[in-house]
């Protein structure tokens, strides 16, 4: 078996033979990404309506369904309607602390939906983990928050972590994501600044191992180039924008 030392020695040997094809540099990274991310947030707080509109256009272009509600109180009726139209009964949700607080689950339960909240941390044992996975695999709807909503591409960025299982936005056939203006960014470049900050001098939204970019529902064109949705991931992705904000 090749060792690490052998592998690297070979690379260094070859690079000595041909150090460069042409003069080139990597991308210029932000010097203080956390401060720059704050600047982006501050600036966007003033002109978020244009960013939201751009997001809506792109999100709908990739077959996402966009909703806009005035306040947190209007979220449960909106989800209830999505559920009714699809004959959906069971909803699995990120832990409320990562979505919109405790009130939403109560309101959804009151409307007759079976709400299954994911725990705030790890499962007690393997059996409990298997049970939660089975619940998620059976659910009709998966409810999550959003860490970034990218206007340029209509993309939702979700960071995994405690209370934020990866499967909530993956296994159910319909994914519903709640967000407000604080998640909006304009471009992939800005996302780069946030990612640099989360891995550098800033604080990530959660401490999980995975960051997922979700740009519309799961799709394939593998059979005769015919576009088909929902092959492995959700067939539908809904984004609900809460005008009044998710934190009241």
């Amino acid at each position: 078996m090749t060792t690490r030392a052998e592998f690297f020695a070979k690379i260094r040997g070859e690079l000595q033979r041909k150090p460069a094809l042409f003069a080139a540099s990597t991308a210029a990274r932000p010097e203080y990404p956390a401060a720059q991310a704050d600047t982006i947030r501050r600036e966007l707080a003033e002109r978020w309506p244009a960013t939201l509109e751009a997001f809506r256009v792109e999100f709908e272009r990739v077959a996402g369904v966009f909703h806009r509600v005035a306040s947190l109180d209007d979220v449960a009726p909106a989800i209830d309607q999505i559920a009714r139209e699809r004959g959906a009964r069971d909803l699995v949700s990120w832990h409320p602390a990562s979505v919109a607080g405790d009130g939403l689950s109560r309101a959804l339960t009151a409307r007759g939906l079976g709400v299954h909240e994911m725990p705030a941390g790890e499962a007690a044992d393997g059996a409990e983990r298997a049970r939660l996975r089975a619940v998620t695999a059976r659910a009709d709807l998966g409810l999550t928050g959003v860490d970034l909503a990218i206007a340029e591409t209509g993309t939702l960025v979700l960071v995994s972590g405690a209370g934020r299982p990866r499967s909530t936005s993956l296994l159910p056939p319909c994914h519903i994501a709640l967000f407000d203006r604080t998640a909006l960014v304009e471009s992939l470049y800005q996302v780069g600044v946030f990612l640099e900050a989360w891995h550098g001098d800033g604080t990530p939204p959660a401490a999980g191992a995975v960051v997922n970019f979700i740009t519309g529902p799961s799709r394939t064109a593998d059979i005769e180039l015919t576009l088909t949705r929902g092959v492995h991931g959700p067939k539908e992705v809904h984004a609900i924008f809460v005008h009044g904000g998710l934190r009241g």
Partner: protein
């Protein structure tokens, strides 16, 4: 500060230049960036393995699977694991590999190989897919893409939930953060990296990028070149195994760094090809690929870039014929998002095939003679006249479909246009005469 915060990436042509420069700059310090990557992955609790060739890579992955007690492995689409023939190796150990990309699943059922880098079953009709599913499920299946996709979802969902190990390739790996990046449209990449207890990623050593900022440049360019999307549906950034507090995710994370001839090309003539993102854009525009399809290339990577990658992985000897499977029209270089000069390297390969006398002697002699004739106008005209006489017994209805002796090899699969009754040069001379 503001200008900096809202400056975007360059667009269009300038973005391609930027992407290419980042690739080249990364290769110039590949040792440094790979060491950062390895250090970060190990710090996160992941394991890194080094494979000089396919055989070592297979052995590493099979050992990991065996230690995990795996009986079934779910795989998301990965050219690297195609390249190392991983599935056969797993099967020999009693581990069932399940391809989960819909196209890969289809060709696995058909016991075939991918014909395109990003649309592996593009050569199959929906009727053929339905027949494959019928054989697998032992019940009638409607030949409708929507229905076939629904069936595949249900079948593969069970496998995702049961599998012990998930095997992926990697589109990129970010050195500064120890992140492996997977891009898929179906969501199988997410399944494979979230549900099984062990995740193994197999990646060519050249795929590392330095920072998250660099990664975003490539994400901005990759989907546009591959499928015309602004971004593929799922881009998954994975940093090692499941973290404390996480409900799910693999307990074990392994990255296998693959050499297989790549490293030798850092100092070799195919260095440019190490910048390839595997987007498939050069296949889609190649007139030769469009005529003959991916299988005709006979190796893991088809198309113009595939010829270069085959030469890189299996040696120049293996492309002695493929090096000529290009009209050198340059469409591939125009389409390439990182501006790889594929035609230039194909010509280099042809030269090498010739210089190292890899081609059969008859071919070499023929080309040498042809070169003599083509560079001497008088000799060329003479040969045209002789050819016109000699071809008489073989020309039928304006084509030559059968030649005698070893010339027959040429006409076995294609026609030869005959020498014209009056050549262009003769007509041109006559026209000039008349105009005078």
């Amino acid at each position: 500060m503001r200008r900096e915060a809202f400056a975007g990436f360059p667009e269009g042509e300038a973005l391609r230049d930027r992407a290419r420069a980042i690739k080249e700059a990364t290769l110039q310090r590949l040792d440094h960036h790979l060491e950062r990557l390895v250090g970060n992955i190990e710090r996160l609790g992941g394991h890194v393995h080094y494979a000089a060739n396919s055989e070592e890579a297979r052995r590493i992955v099979v050992d990991i699977a065996r230690r995990a007690g795996a009986r079934m492995a779910v795989k998301s689409k990965s050219m690297a694991t195609e390249e190392i023939d991983l599935n056969e190796a797993l099967e020999r150990e009693g581990i069932t590999p399940v391809e989960t990309d819909l196209g890969e699943y289809i060709i696995q059922l058909a016991h075939e190989r991918p014909s395109h880098i990003i649309a592996p079953a593009i050569h199959k009709t929906k009727g053929q897919v339905a027949e494959l599913f019928e054989r697998e499920l032992k019940r009638p299946v409607e030949a409708d893409p929507e229905e076939l996709t629904r069936i595949a979802r249900a079948e593969l969902r069970q496998k995702f939930l049961q599998a012990d190990i998930g095997i992926t390739g990697a589109n990129f790996a970010v050195a500064e953060t120890g992140t492996v990046v997977l891009v898929t449209n179906e969501g199988n990449g997410r399944m494979v990296t979230s549900l099984p207890r062990v995740h193994v990623a197999v990646m060519g050593a050249e795929k590392v990028v330095p920072s998250m900022t660099d990664l975003m440049v490539f994400l901005a360019i990759l989907a546009k070149s591959a499928t015309g999307q602004k971004l593929s549906v799922y881009t998954t950034l994975v940093r090692g195994p499941r973290r404390a507090g996480e409900l799910e995710g693999p307990e074990e994370f392994h990255l296998v760094l693959l050499d297989s001839g790549r490293i030798a090309q850092l100092g070799g003539p195919l260095r440019e090809a190490l910048s390839c993102l595997r987007c498939g854009a050069c296949l889609n525009v190649c007139p030769v690929y469009r005529q003959i399809g991916g299988h005709a290339y006979g190796h893991t990577y088809p198309g113009p870039i595939g010829i270069l990658l085959t030469a890189m992985l299996e040696g120049t000897q293996s492309v002695k014929e493929l090096a000529h499977a290009s009209s050198l029209c340059g469409a591939c270089a125009d389409a390439c998002p990182v501006r790889i000069d594929i035609p230039k390297m194909l010509i280099e390969l042809r030269r090498e095939v010739d210089e190292r006398k890899i081609a059969p002697w008859i071919e070499r002699v023929t080309f040498k003679l042809l070169a003599r004739v083509l560079t001497r106008p008088a000799l060329y005209r003479l040969f045209a006249r002789v050819g016109r006489v000699l071809q008489r017994p073989f020309a039928r209805e304006g084509t030559i479909s059968h030649l005698p002796l070893f010339f027959g090899d040429w006409t076995r699969t294609r026609d030869l246009p005959p020498v014209a009754a009056r050549t262009f040069q003769e007509r041109w001379a006559a026209e000039r005469e008349r105009a005078r």
